[in-house]
C-alpha cells in the first residue's frame, strides 16, 4: 500500500485557552476528495491551515503530526515549508476579494507565485498565468490578466484564486469555504470547475465548508467535525444518506431543503386574513434610481407586490438584484423615486417624513448583521427599550417589565437585561434584534437576510421563532434572502428578483415546484442538493441550462 498524500495524526491546535482542534486524525489518498463539514467554531478551518503550516508564527500552539506529500509539516524548516506551499499543496481561500493584493494585477500575482517555485523568466511566468487563467474560464485571459482584483466580479476573483492554486500543478488543493461569499449560480459554476479540474489533473481536494450541500456536490468522502473533533467520517453517500451519529443527523435535519415543503403546522394562510381586510402593504410600480446622468443605476425597477396580515412574502434574489433596496423602501428607510406604496389603503410612498412618522413604528425592519445592528456600548435591554422610549414611554418600571417580557418571548433570559451585545452568540443577538422590533408593536416586519450570518442549527431556531411570532401576532412578514431553501421554508408566497425586477411571483409551492421563468429555473438548478448521487445528474442539467 502506498503512503497517503495527507496523514494527520492526533492534531491539536490551541489558540490561547481555546482548543480549536482536539486530537484530529485522518488520511487522504492521492487524487481523492474529502469534505470537512462543520459549523462555525468546529475547528475545520484551523485544521486546513495546519496542513500548510500556516499556524506558524501566529501564536497558535500545534501538536501532533501532519505529513503532506512527504513533508513533515511540523518539523520542516522554513525553506522546506515554502517548497511545500503552493507547489505541492495549494490553498484556495474563502473571501476572494481580500485574498488578492489590490495593488497588483491578477496576472502578476499568479506569475509571482509561479516564479517562487520555478526558475523561469518573468515572461514565461506571465505566460503561465495567462494559461491557468484561461483554464479556469476567464474570458479573454491575456487582457484580463492585466486587470486588478477590484475590476473582477466575485466569481472571477474566485476563479483567479483557483488559477493561482493550479499554477504549480500541486498534488493537493485545500479549499477553505471557496464558495461562501458567492451567489448560488456562481457557486455552482465554481464547484463544477473544481470538479472538472480534479478529474483532469488528478489532484486531491480537501474542501472545507459549513454547507453540507456544497460538500455533497463536490467530494467522495465526508468528515463531520464538532468542537474540534471528528464526529463521523465515511463515503459522502453514506454519511449524508444514512448518518450514524446523532450530531450528523441533527446537522442534516437543520439544513433547509429547497425541494421540501414547509414543515406542517397551524399556518393561517394568507387567504384566511386577506378577504376581510385587504392587503396590509401594497407596492405599485415601485422604482428606485441612484446617481445621475450616465452613471444612473436603477436598483429597483417597476416592482409591484402585496403583503397581507399574517402572511409571509419571501423575496429571493442574488447579490445586486435590488432586494435589500426594495425591503428598505417598503418600510420607508429609503425613498422611492417612482411608483406608489400603500399601507392599510393609504398612500405612504410620497408622504413627507413628518407625516410618515406615526406609521414608522408599525413598519419595522430586522437587519442581516446582528453584530453591527446593535450598539456595542449599550446594554441589550436598553437597545430593546429604544422603540418604547421613542414612542414616548417614560415609566421606567413599565419599560423594564415590557423589555423583560420581550427578551423572554424571543427565548432569552430576562436577567441578562444589563449585559452587552458581545456577551451573546450570533443567534442570540439576532433574537435581541427581533425583540427590539417587537417592542414597537409592528404590523409589518421586513427581515433582510436575518439568518444568513448564522449556522444552520441556529438558523433553524431563529426561523422557527419568526414563524411562531407571526402566528401569534398576526403580523405581515417580508423575508428577504439569497438562500432559496430558507425562503421556501418560511414563505407563503415568493417573489424572485433579478436586476431590480420581479421575474416571477406566486405561491411558494408553485414557484418552486414548477418555475415558469428561465432565471428561476437556473437558480433552482444551482442549489446544491444533499444527495451526492443526484448532484452528478444536476451538474449535467446545469451545463444544459447554461447553453440554453
Amino acid at each position: 500500500m502506498t503512503t497517503p498524500l495527507v496523514q494527520v495524526e492526533d492534531l491539536t491546535v490551541d489558540f490561547g485557552d481555546v482548543r480549536a482542534v482536539d486530537g484530529l486524525s485522518f488520511t487522504l489518498e492521492a487524487g481523492a476528495a474529502l469534505g470537512v463539514v462543520g459549523e462555525s467554531g468546529s475547528g475545520k478551518s484551523a485544521s486546513a491551515s495546519a496542513l500548510l503550516g500556516l499556524h506558524r508564527g501566529t501564536g497558535a500552539r500545534v501538536t501532533g503530526t501532519v505529513r503532506v506529500a512527504g513533508t513533515d509539516v511540523g518539523a520542516a524548516d522554513e525553506a522546506e515549508l515554502r517548497a511545500l506551499r503552493g507547489a505541492k499543496a495549494a490553498m484556495v481561500f474563502q473571501d476572494p476579494l481580500s485574498s488578492l493584493d489590490p495593488y497588483y494585477t491578477v496576472g502578476d500575482q499568479i506569475a509571482e507565485v509561479y516564479r517562487v517555485h520555478n526558475r523561469v523568466s518573468r515572461r514565461a511566468a506571465r505566460a503561465r498565468a495567462v494559461e491557468v487563467l484561461d483554464r479556469v474560464g476567464i474570458p479573454d485571459a491575456v487582457r484580463r490578466s492585466r486587470s486588478r482584483p477590484h475590476e473582477f466580479s466575485g466569481g472571477m476573483r474566485q476563479r483567479a484564486l483557483i488559477a493561482m492554486a493550479l499554477a504549480c500543478e500541486p498534488r493537493l488543493i485545500v479549499a477553505d469555504e471557496p464558495t461562501t461569499a458567492l451567489d448560488v449560480t456562481v457557486q455552482a459554476q465554481i464547484l463544477d470547475l473544481l470538479h472538472d479540474l480534479r478529474r483532469e489533473t488528478g489532484t486531491a481536494l480537501l474542501l472545507v465548508t459549513h454547507d453540507v450541500g456544497v460538500a455533497a456536490e463536490s467530494v467522495d468522502e465526508v468528515l463531520v467535525m464538532q468542537h474540534g473533533r471528528a464526529v463521523e467520517r465515511g463515503p459522502a453517500v453514506e454519511v449524508l444518506g444514512a448518518p450514524r451519529q446523532p450530531y450528523t443527523r441533527e446537522l442534516l435535519a437543520s439544513v433547509p431543503r429547497v425541494d421540501a415543503r414547509r414543515p406542517a403546522g397551524p399556518v393561517p394562510g394568507p387567504r384566511a386574513a386577506a378577504p376581510e381586510t385587504g392587503p396590509l402593504l401594497e407596492a405599485l410600480g415601485l422604482r428606485r434610481e441612484f446617481g445621475r446622468g450616465s452613471s444612473r443605476v436603477t436598483a429597483v425597477d417597476d416592482v409591484s407586490l402585496t403583503v397581507h396580515a399574517g402572511e409571509t412574502l419571501g423575496i429571493v434574489g442574488e447579490s445586486g438584484s435590488g432586494k435589500t433596496t426594495l425591503g428598505r423602501m417598503l418600510v420607508r428607510l429609503d425613498d422611492p423615486t417612482g411608483g406608489r406604496l400603500r399601507y392599510g389603503g393609504r398612500e405612504i410612498g410620497s408622504l413627507p417624513e413628518k407625516a410618515f412618522r406615526p406609521f414608522r413604528r408599525e413598519l419595522q425592519m430586522v437587519f442581516q448583521d446582528p453584530v453591527a445592528s446593535l450598539n456595542p456600548r449599550r446594554s441589550v435591554g436598553e437597545s430593546v427599550a429604544d422603540p418604547l422610549r421613542a414612542a414616548g414611554e417614560t415609566d421606567e418600571t413599565r419599560i423594564r417589565d415590557r423589555v423583560s417580557g420581550l427578551l423572554e418571548r424571543v427565548g432569552l433570559d430576562a436577567g441578562r437585561y444589563e449585559r452587552y451585545p458581545h456577551e451573546f452568540s450570533g443567534g442570540q443577538r439576532q433574537r435581541i434584534g427581533i425583540a427590539r422590533v417587537l417592542a414597537a408593536d409592528p404590523k409589518l416586519i421586513v427581515c433582510d437576510e436575518p439568518v444568513s450570518a448564522l449556522d444552520v442549527t441556529t438558523q433553524a431556531q431563529v426561523i422557527a421563532l419568526l414563524g411562531e411570532l407571526q402566528r401569534e401576532l398576526g403580523i405581515g412578514l417580508v423575508f428577504i434572502a439569497h438562500d432559496l431553501a430558507v425562503v421556501r421554508q418560511v414563505s407563503d408566497r415568493v417573489a424572485v428578483m433579478r436586476q431590480g425586477r420581479i421575474v416571477e411571483q406566486g405561491a411558494v409551492d408553485e414557484v418552486y415546484g414548477s418555475p415558469q421563468d428561465a432565471y428561476t429555473k437556473q437558480l433552482l438548478a444551482a442549489v446544491p442538493t444533499l444527495d451526492p448521487a443526484r448532484a452528478a445528474a444536476r451538474r449535467a442539467a446545469r451545463s444544459e441550462l447554461a447553453v440554453a
Binding site: A90, M91, S99, D101, P102, V116
Partner: protein, 329 residues
Amino acid sequence: MTGFLLRRLGGAVFVLLSLTVILYAVFYVAPGDVAQIACGPRCSPAQVAQVTEQLRLDDPVYTQYGHFLQGIVAGRDFSTGTGVDHCSAPCLGVSYQSDQQVMRLILTKLPVTGSLVVGAFVCWILLGVGTGVLSVWRRGRITERLLTWLTLAGTATPVFVIGLLLIIVFCSTLQWLPSPTYVPFTEDPEQWAWGLLLPWVSLALIESAKYARLTRSSMLETLAEDHVRTFRAYGVGERAVIGRHALRGAVAPVIALSALDFGSMFGGAVLTESLFGIPGLGRELVHAVKVVDLPVVVGMVLVTGFFVVLANAVADMLYALADRRVVLS
C-alpha cells in the same frame, strides 16, 4: 483628469483668496501704527503722516484690498517719494519697510527655501521609510525596539537641539564639515550640497520619525490582511512579502502625509533657517510679521498656501496612481 485639474485649480484660487481676505482683516484690527514702524522711531508726526499718505494706509481696508487684487491682475504703480515704481502683474505689492517689490523678494528667497525643503524631503522619506521597513523586518526583536525608541526620541526633540548638536559635533569638534552656509546651486553645486547637508539632516531626523512610525504601522496593518496570508500560503518568502506586498500598502498614507509636510515646510522651516543662518522664506516671514509688513506677509502666505495646495493636488494624482481603485473626482 482635465476636469479634476480644473476643479482643483478653482478650489486653489478660492482657498488662496480666502487666505488674503483673512490676513487683511487680521492686520486691520491688529494693534500697532504701521506708518510709525515703517518710518522709524525717530520720525516726526509730519513724516509719519507723509508715510501714511505714501503707503495709502488711510484708505479703508476694502479699498486697500481692492488695490491688492488689482495689482495681481493688472499690476500697479507705487510712489517711492521721489518717483513712480511700476510693479507689473502679478504684483503682490511693495514692502512697507524696504520699498522692495514683494514678488522680487519672494523670487530671491524661494530657491533658498526650495533647496532646503526638497533636499530635506528626499532625506526624510529615505530615512523614514527605510527605518519603518527595517523595524517591520526585524519585528519582535531588539532592533525594532531600538528603532521605535529612536523614532520616539526623534519626534520629541526640537530641531534646534538636534541642529545645534550636529553643528557642535561635526563643525566644531570633529571639523568634518564647514559651517552651514547657503551657496546657490547655480554658483557651485558641490558647495551648495555641503552647505545644506546639516540642515537637511536635522530636518530629516525629526520629520523621518513620523514617517518611520507611519510606514511601520501601515505595513503591520497590511501584513495582517488576508492577501498577505495568500502569498505566505503559496511559499512566497518573507522578504518578498514585506518588500512587495506590505510596503505597497504603506505607499498611499506616506504620500498623503508627505503632501501636507512638503507644502507647509515652505513657510514653516523657520527654526531650521534661523539656526543655520539660511536666508529663506520662513525667516523673512517672521521678520515681516514682527514689523507689520502686510504686503510681505500676504505674499509669503500666498506662496506657502500655493505650495500646500499644489502638493496636495500632486498627492491626489499620485494616490490614484498608487491605488487604482481610487477615482479622481
